[in-house]
Symmetry: C2
């Protein structure tokens, strides 16, 4: 045993101390709870899948980043998102599912990127998708912002804004400029406008040999501002008659109306014509979400509507809509910005400290009573002195300590110490649990 | 898109339909809840670690089964259990942890075994461990069965028995027979006694060239039966004076006494001298748990005490005790035996069915009210006829359907249909949530 292996983990992998893990888990629990409140069903797909499944669509960056290896005769990969496994799942389990199929999945995905600040190689995604059979009503496009709204109200990171756009509006607009072939590249450039600014966007568009007048039209288009109603009005009255464009504008108008029926605060959502979300995946409504006071965090919850989830695996036409929260990165950013901080070092409601080893029956009876009432109670079994015992309670940030010595046992009481105020009181064992309710 | 990839997953990987996933998750939640009630802290270590870390101890089967691959310059592996990552974690984070360190981790582990019935290549382990700094009081050896007891009471799979032994008793016993070098192999054979029977154990021991009298002594030793008190008495009075043996008997006696202080039913735990648990890892108390009515399932929760968790990574002496539930295998077995079955096809408390698309404001107000009260409410947005809508509710096994048409809107009511009894009633919107409490 002389040669020790240095204990370490890979860069780009988040591993937390217990107090941070408690905080992280409380976020996961809140997200899960909102997903379930809106009727989503849980799903858990394998971490390892056949490479041909996961890479059916992928190319470029994904192929480079994926963790891929052989085991026996199998060419295997670790999932790099939760969408491809969902597509495979829905195609495979189609006869057993009820549509619209609403599922959530919260799990780790893996991308072997170069490690850099804010990038993780292993990270949690918290996804929901609604999958329709052949079609999916537009009202789901409004339910999604209602879910984002419920989540970030619950998570309570401060004011946030859900930015909404429609890919048909964008696609139709570029078609009307005879820039359909360039649309993907233009959208990619527009997508960066918050990061690089309008001047750089203009320069990059010029580099693409788009003529100056069209660039001006593009820029004045994405400059359209105002209330949602005003933006819709501008979009309707700017003389573009492309069919896709008009369909998109109508969808956008309808979705915005429906969102208000969901009871969202007016200042929590807005049309934003600059967001495009990815390149060719989304085909309708798209979303991004930002913390108003921390724009530099970028979008903290994004997604949109797509025409067909499972095209690589089946002929069924299964349109869907979904969002994803990259929770590992978000958690890391929120911690760094001081938006969240550790509050609980332990989950327990109380620590029971026996003064000696004699009265274990009584000590454990007290512990059992508390746990039977759903309380989290730990017992310090160490034989060290009182000072050590209280130090343990302090280090774990325990709110209440229950001290039990022979006096307490004889009188069927406990001494309950509030660790915040320092106050202590003698409590009858029969009324103890009520102290925590 | 002509070439479709056939959607499938690898053999040996469990993937569930939503109704089974709901059942599985409810088991995870119950286990987690008990772990937290006993004061355990959550932990989540990376799925991917350096191979030299994960294989610091391993050899033989583990090396063959592990998923190992290179990415860039790194030799990486997927974790094959949660114990080795815990050891690395504790060694690495030592200064930041409070001891005794009680942690739980529920997560997937990976073993590339040949696929066979009941064996999984990716499976959940639900682990707890208590790690002491230099030492760990014996009372934790009794708390562990109390936790196992609380879990299987909560999970409610029927009567179970926690079988308890002590490795010092076994080791000391074999030393007294001058069979210390053979002990590991003898223990391995004894470990199989439930599977292969006493005669085969005898035969295998004979094959090891152990003389007949010693075999008889071994067999009469593991044949010791009776109440826990009677077994302790037999162990004390069988003339063995080996120091380790006597220490083990004393520990066993003390642990059994302490367990009764934890309030466990007498028929839920027993000393069983045949269980040995692994070969060289455990050094004190060991546990197995069986369902009394389904012995063939084997142990459903096992563990024990070990002298030093982190020997491969650090010089700190960190003794511990822990248990593990292999939940994927257990779930699969329980389903197959019909001990558990799917009861909920959905998590929702109610499905709201609008009769038309006109009254969305009212429909969504009802949904919001329910969700604000913590209820899980889904809305069926499809525009198909009433028959289709009720079919959807049926397929999801929804307990209550709320029907909303224009009459309901005018009167500020809803029609609430109990899907089990078929009864329906008109309910004022203000008193609706009370119907679910």
């Amino acid at each position: 045993m002389a040669n020790k292996v240095q204990p370490k983990i890979l860069p780009g992998f988040m591993e937390l101390l217990p107090e941070d893990q408690i905080l992280f888990n409380s976020m996961v629990d809140k997200i899960r709870s909102v997903y379930e409140k809106f009727g989503f069903l849980p799903l858990d797909t394998p971490v390892i899948e056949y490479s041909e499944i996961l890479l059916a669509k992928a190319g470029g960056e994904t192929e480079k980043q994926i963790y891929r290896f052989n085991k026996g005769d199998n060419d295997l990969s670790l999932r790099f998102d939760l969408t491809v496994p969902l597509a495979r799942y829905v195609a495979q389990r189609y006869p057993y599912l009820t549509f619209p199929f609403k599922r959530y999945q919260i799990g780790k995905v893996f991308r072997g990127e170069r490690p850099q600040k804010g990038r993780f190689r292993e990270f949690y995604q918290c996804d929901i998708d609604v999958i329709g059979n052949e079609n999916l009503p537009l009202v789901y496009d409004a339910e999604i912002p209602a879910i984002i709204y419920a989540i970030f109200k619950e998570l309570d990171f401060g004011p946030f804004i859900i930015r909404i756009n429609n890919r048909k509006v964008l696609n139709g607009f570029f078609k009307s400029l005879d820039l359909t072939d360039e649309a993907t590249e233009i959208l990619r450039i527009i997508d960066k406008i918050d990061k690089i600014g309008e001047d750089n966007v203009k320069e990059e568009l010029t580099d693409m040999h788009i003529d100056a007048q069209k660039i001006e039209t593009i820029l004045s288009f994405i400059r359209i501002k105002g209330s949602n109603e005003e933006i819709i009005k501008s979009l309707k009255n700017n003389g573009i008659n492309d069919e896709t464009y008009l369909e998109g504008v109508n969808e956008l108008e309808e979705v915005i109306k429906l969102i208000s029926s969901f009871g969202l605060d007016k200042d929590a959502y807005t049309i934003d014509l600059t967001i495009a979300r990815g390149l060719d995946y989304y085909t309708g409504t798209v979303y991004e979400t930002n913390l108003k006071e921390y724009p530099k965090l970028g979008s903290i919850c994004s997604g949109g509507r797509y025409e067909n989830l499972t095209g690589y695996y089946t002929d069924q036409k299964l349109p869907g809509i979904g969002i994803s929260i990259g929770l590992t990165r978000l958690f890391s950013q929120l911690k760094e910005e001081g938006i969240i901080s550790t509050t609980k070092k332990s989950l327990i409601d109380t620590l029971i400290v026996p003064l000696d080893e004699e009265n274990m029956d009584y000590v454990l009876e007290v512990a059992n009573r508390l746990r039977d009432k759903g309380l989290k109670a730990d017992v310090y079994y160490g034989t060290k002195g009182m000072k050590q015992k209280m130090k343990y309670a302090d280090k774990l940030g325990v709110p209440y300590v229950i001290v039990i010595g022979s006096d307490e046992v004889s009188n069927k009481v406990v001494t309950l110490k509030n660790m915040v105020t320092g106050e202590q009181e003698v409590v009858q064992i029969d009324s103890l649990t009520s102290k925590f309710c």
